[in-house]
Symmetry: C2
Subunit: 351 residues, 2 copies
């Protein structure tokens, strides 16, 4: 018998969809992705991009010290101090992996079934829809919620690949606080909001942050541009591209060869790290020809304020259909919406 709803993806969108689908008695099945060397085949990142971050300060409901807050309400007044004292070092906000595992647990508590495998191809040409996993499993389903997210872009240089996790990163918030980057000059590539965010974040740790922009202008909003310009630690370089990542096996990355794209000249910057902030690619390769996508490859929503896609019974949630907000809470919001949309679709069909 076909499944009622299959959810592909395991970030905030996927788990929010699972929580709501499970509470609606739809017995959802989640393909949470496979822990393979190269997840690019289908694209699902287990536990989503949040699993690659450290603290999450902006997911509503988790202020720093939230644990202390609960302790205060949970134990007798005269014992609060005893409890809080050893927890002081845990006064941080929730971390990305913690938050994702909490959502996963919540989905499981309500009866969600989870398969640690990835969907690599889909047949949406007729109903029930057919999904095939990396492990060779085939599943038929009345509805699908696609929550496969998006992945950070890299430059594609061999030297960049060589020093990944040894100085090259696509996530300042995940990696910026590591000892290897402290009090060193760092390089950020990109001119959008994210690039400014990353540069600002890194400026807390770095001696200097060099921002490399290909053009004469920022793509970032004015506020963000000003934020970069007003930060004494950030140096902005226009018309610059990365020609090569420099380093050796022992130290990893030690610098960046920078090309001036106006006159072709190059310059070597000494650096402790290179952070890419040049956009994301939605994980939709496995949907090509099956579902309407935007020119950038994101899933296209067909109805305002709903999660409907170009195929009935197929819903999208999270970053895979959002190149604009891309926040944990907006993804969780659309995940919830997709589950309710699926529930109402099934109800209307009498399934």
């Amino acid at each position: 018998m076909p499944e009622h709803v299959v959810i592909i993806g395991s970030g905030p969108a996927g788990w929010a969809a699972a929580i709501y689908a499970a509470r609606a008695n739809l017995h959802p099945l989640v393909f949470e992705g496979a822990e393979t060397e190269d997840n690019r085949i289908a694209g699902t990142l287990p536990l989503g991009q949040l699993n690659l971050t450290t603290e999450v300060e902006n997911y509503p409901g988790f202020p720093a010290g939230h644990l202390q807050h609960f302790i205060r309400t949970a134990v007798a007044k005269d014992r609060v101090e005893t409890y809080l004292e050893p927890l002081e070092e845990h006064a941080h906000a929730v971390t990305g992996p913690e938050l994702m595992n909490l959502m996963r647990q919540q989905a499981e508590n309500f009866g969600t079934r989870i398969i640690t495998d990835d969907i690599v191809s889909v047949d949406l040409s007729r109903q029930p829809y057919k999904l095939t996993s990396l492990g060779g499993q085939t599943v038929q389903t009345h509805t699908v919620i696609i929550a496969t997210g998006a992945k950070a872009n890299y430059l594609g240089l061999a030297s960049e690949e060589r020093f990944k996790n040894r100085g090259v990163s696509a996530c300042a918030v995940c990696d910026g606080a590591l000892p290897r980057f402290r009090n060193k000059p760092l390089v950020v590539v990109g001119g959008g909001d994210t690039a400014v965010e990353e540069a600002t974040y890194l400026s807390k740790y770095a001696s200097t942050v060099h921002m490399l922009l290909r053009r004469d202008k920022f793509r970032a909003s004015k506020v963000m541009e000003d934020r970069a310009k007003n930060n004494a630690k950030i140096k902005i370089h226009h018309f610059r591209e990365v020609a090569e990542v420099l380093g050796d096996d022992k130290q990893g990355l030690t610098g960046v060869r920078v090309k001036n794209n106006q006159d072709g000249s190059t310059d070597d910057l000494s650096a402790g790290g290179l952070f890419l902030a040049i956009g994301h690619t939605p994980n939709t390769a496995f949907l090509e020809g099956q579902l309407e996508l935007t020119p950038l490859g994101y899933i296209k929503f067909t109805t305002p304020q709903r999660t409907y896609t170009s195929k009935e019974g197929v819903f999208a949630a999270g970053d895979v259909a959002d190149d604009y907000y891309r926040q944990a809470v907006t993804s969780a919001g659309t995940g919830c919406m997709a589950a309710l949309d699926a529930e109402r679709y099934l109800a209307a069909k009498g399934i």
Copy 2:
């Protein structure tokens, strides 16, 4: 000088907007509502409708036992049991008021200014916009995020008003577990999804749940209708309306006089409680003539997947613009979106 952004409302949408606006350095000002006897003047319910609920099981990130989860990661392994033991009774999910206070705290941590007062009139005819509070305060602002929510509807009977909080309720989840409703027959008015949800919830406590529907059909989805029909404790009565709430000063509500709207006959049902589940009214009375509303009075979004309204610089979030999903996490999601929309609007205007 005008404010950058004023947020009206203090449910998940309002706080999510505040968290994001504060982190974007917009120094948001939140009017969280006033604790007046009759909040209907403007409509802001302090801390939103969630503040009226008990446990919130479906806000992603808070499975039951989340506190235990954190304890396990926070204290040394050999001390975990000592810590967990007295917390066992706190193994519930987060409560509505807890969740709202956590979000409020998070917004405050990032520098949100909060005023315990309600906006009762707005002048959106020219910029900067002018807002006037119940307490007589006037504020000018470049952008406004409206997150005033919606309120439950009542029948409007004098006897209903008389027994409010003494047997009459519009929120089964808030009140259903109270001792006065245990093992008693209860009455639910309404035929939508919410009515079924409420009846199902109450069936855990009640001896019988009578659902009164005005028509021959449910408005609820098929799944929800089946849920009601398959619940042995729920009795469904079609073509029935409440003529009168019965009771006395000592016991409060004791029963409901039910009218058959086909033949006009009446019948007295003995009951311990009456639960209204006949929809919500968005808190938009103070916007009349200033902003485009839907026929049901909700704020109209003008652009797909954005929080723009008919006035530039005015954004809407949460239930005040949503008669469809109405969940904590969808409200938080649109709250975040509204703040990012306001940030980009101000940046584009160079403010």
